[in-house]
């Protein structure tokens, strides 16, 4: 980062607040809606202070009804506004799923772009904070399967701000998932002004020529930790933070595996039907003859996310990833 840029030290959740503030200032059509997003500043304080700055007309506490919230925001979006909806936890979005899959994502196609839905839905997701039942879901693959929807997941404060700004400016619906386990994991320098990071572009976190590891959200740091251990044993990993799960960054995935010939995909979601399978499809289509070992997946299990005494057993950790690194290099 250039020294000429003014920066501030922010956590992921603070960077999200900062992005919302920038967008509310920059564009009068931006609205923030959700349960407890007003005076309370959101259950994770992601909208902290925005109600005082922008008022009840633009930072709106709504009734407790996810379908109502998403459905009425579709109407706002079709008629000139850019709503940013907060769903308190990804596991609470399901009552609004119908509005997302039958309307928000189809209105552009159905009306041949006469009406469009520039709607951003933000939701914390994933396990790792000892939360009650249903609060720890990582069901991103339910959403990447919906035509017409982009799915974005940041893993650090800088990306969180830039990707959220791009999501709000995007002309179509975006589901922006926030890894709550690392919401406050540490502060990083984040530019004070507005900036955007293009959707659909991955980010290389570490360079290596032996194994490619693909991850997103809270799993990026876990993958980096495993890569550090591998490096101590002479195995160098290319760690890629995919950042956008739809559309995936095909070029970066292909370039990386064509160099390493080995791939591991990490996610905390269940294995079957996971986004990992789409990464495998890209590798298959672009790089089949470059591969020196079968692709490995390190994922959660095909079980409901367990209550929290077992959540550390459920999600991938650096040991499980390290084992996969050993397996693909020994093959």
């Amino acid at each position: 980062m250039s020294t000429a840029v003014n920066t501030k030290k922010l956590t992921i959740v603070q960077a999200i607040t900062d992005a919302l503030k920038e967008m509310l200032e920059e564009d009068e059509s931006v609205l923030v809606l959700g349960e407890d997003v007003g005076k309370n500043g959101g259950v994770f304080r992601a909208t902290d202070g925005l109600y005082d700055l922008f008022g009840d007309d633009r930072v709106i506490d709504t009734p407790l009804a996810e379908s109502g919230l998403i459905g009425s925001s579709i109407g706002l979006a079709m008629n000139g506004f850019r709503p940013v909806v907060e769903i308190q936890f990804l596991g609470f979005i399901y009552p609004g799923f119908n509005q997302l899959i039958t309307h928000a994502t189809r209105i552009r196609t159905r009306t041949q772009s006469r009406y469009t839905v520039p709607l951003t839905i933000r939701a914390p997701y994933g396990s790792g904070v000892r939360a009650p039942e249903i609060h720890s879901d990582s069901t991103e693959a339910l959403f990447t399967h919906i035509p017409g929807l982009k799915v974005v997941i940041p893993s650090n404060p800088y990306d969180a701000k830039g990707l959220l700004i791009s999501s709000i400016k995007d002309p179509d619906p975006v589901l922006f998932l926030e890894p709550m386990r690392i919401y406050r994991a540490g502060k990083e320098d984040v530019p004070s002004e507005s900036y955007s990071i293009p959707l659909g572009k991955a980010s290389r976190k570490r360079t290596g020529d032996d194994v490619s590891i693909f991850a997103w959200g809270a799993m990026v740091r876990v993958a980096e930790k495993a890569a550090e251990e591998a490096s101590e044993n002479g195995i160098e990993c290319d760690v890629i933070d995919l950042r956008t799960l739809y559309p995936l960054d095909k070029e970066v995935i292909a370039e990386s595996v064509q160099r390493t010939g080995r791939a591991i995909i990490v996610h905390e979601a269940p294995s079957t039907g996971g986004v990992s399978n789409d990464v495998m499809e890209i590798i298959n289509d672009t790089s089949f003859l470059y591969m020196r070992a079968p692709i490995k997946k390190v994922t959660g299990y095909d079980t409901p996310v367990p209550l929290f005494t077992l959540e550390d057993d459920y999600a991938p950790d650096s040991k499980k990833i390290y084992r996969a690194i050993e397996e693909v290099t020994r093959f």
């Binding site: 709504t62 009804a65 459905g71 706002l76 008629n79 552009r108 006469r114 035509p147």
Partner: protein, 356 residues
């Protein structure tokens, strides 16, 4: 309290076409003729569509015959700039509000172009997921409120829709934020085969407004004047900042839910026959004009002929489109280039195997 008494059915013309005695400035010969033209046209449209389906020229179709007064009376109370959200059974309303006939037919022919309203007209494509459109009407009207305009939304839905969560969430949001939206229910007695008494224990649908502290009104859905007048009142309340209204128009569909269904399996169709004789919305208007001394059979003949001609022209236009342009499948999924869609489109068109 007896809800039938609290929410009496508002009627301006009785079934035999006589004025009920209620005073209403809207009951005029001129307006009766205008309504008549639209309702005759709508019925012929509906019959044409059923015939086209039988001949395999369009796909499955959802007929509305019997519900013309509910749809025409409400649609003609709306103005340009207002937003209309129909179900799949509301083509009398969308046509009266200015939708392209060719496009209405194209929709049922399986062509996405049919979903697009004429420039400047806010008519949403028919909503298939029951009650879900109630929230879009609420949201677009909320946007009008935020812009400080006096435009409103009107949304159609059936009796079955009132069992859905989106109905209650929409009424609640509109009530809490005082949103300028008219919730127009057509209670035709059946949700496909399930009768009203299995749908709800309440005696009326209008009474559900009490839970949201908004005005609720029950109107004879086969009395076009009453529908028009009550819709006008609700729209004016919304325009003037007085929030949403729930209207229950009590009506009857003579025929099937769609062309794939046989109503005699779940109800006595003698009831449809009886209602057609005693309570038909078009016959009622003819009787009114006769009683008022304004019936002119050569005018009525002309209305029928002109409607037939307009419909035939629309069918000719519709049939010029054999199928949608394949590119339309890919070109409006996103407003930006998204590679999986672009790549799949390319594969479809240029790599031979997928397009013959």
């Amino acid at each position: 309290m007896d809800m039938n008494e609290k929410f009496p059915i508002v009627q301006l013309l009785s079934g035999d076409g006589r004025r009920t005695g209620a005073v209403c400035e809207h009951v005029t010969i001129e307006r009766a003729k205008l309504f008549y033209e639209h309702m005759v046209f709508s019925r012929l449209f509906d019959q044409k569509a059923v015939n086209l389906q039988r001949q395999g020229r369009i796909g499955t179709y959802a007929p509305f015959e019997g519900q013309e007064a509910s749809q025409i009376g409400s649609a003609l109370a709306m103005e340009d700039g207002d937003w209309m959200f129909p179900t799949y059974r509301d083509h009398a309303a969308t046509a009266a509000f200015g939708h392209s006939l060719k496009n209405i037919f194209l929709y049922w022919k399986g062509c996405i172009e049919g979903c697009v309203p004429p420039e400047g007209k806010h008519i949403f494509p028919p909503s298939v997921p029951i009650a879900s459109q109630i929230l879009h009407a609420t949201g677009t009207a909320w946007a009008e409120q935020k812009k400080g305009s006096d435009r409103v939304s009107l949304v159609y839905f059936g009796d079955g829709a009132t069992s859905e969560g989106d109905f209650h969430e929409g009424l609640n949001f509109a009530s809490v934020f005082n949103i300028p939206v008219v919730f127009f229910n057509q209670n035709n007695g059946y949700a496909i085969s399930v009768p009203l008494e299995r749908q709800m224990k309440t005696k009326t649908i209008a009474q559900k407004s009490l839970a949201y502290d908004i005005p609720g009104v029950r109107v004879d859905g086969n009395d076009v004047f009453a529908v028009y007048d009550e819709t006008m009142k609700a729209i004016n309340r919304a325009r003037n900042g007085n929030g949403p209204t729930l209207i229950e128009a009590v009506t009857w569909r003579y025929g099937a839910h769609t062309t794939t269904d046989e109503p005699s399996k779940y109800r006595d169709q003698a009831e449809s026959k009886r209602r057609r004789e005693s309570d038909d919305p078009i016959t009622r208007l003819e009787r009114f004009l006769e009683i008022e001394g304004a019936w002119d059979s050569s005018w009525a003949e002309q209305v029928n002929e002109e409607a037939e001609q307009k419909l035939n022209e629309a069918v000719i236009e519709m049939e010029k489109t054999v199928k949608s342009d394949e590119a339309l499948m890919f070109d409006h999924v996103f407003g930006t280039d998204v590679w999986p869609v672009q790549e799949q489109k390319h594969r479809f068109f240029y790599e031979g195997s997928e397009k013959g």
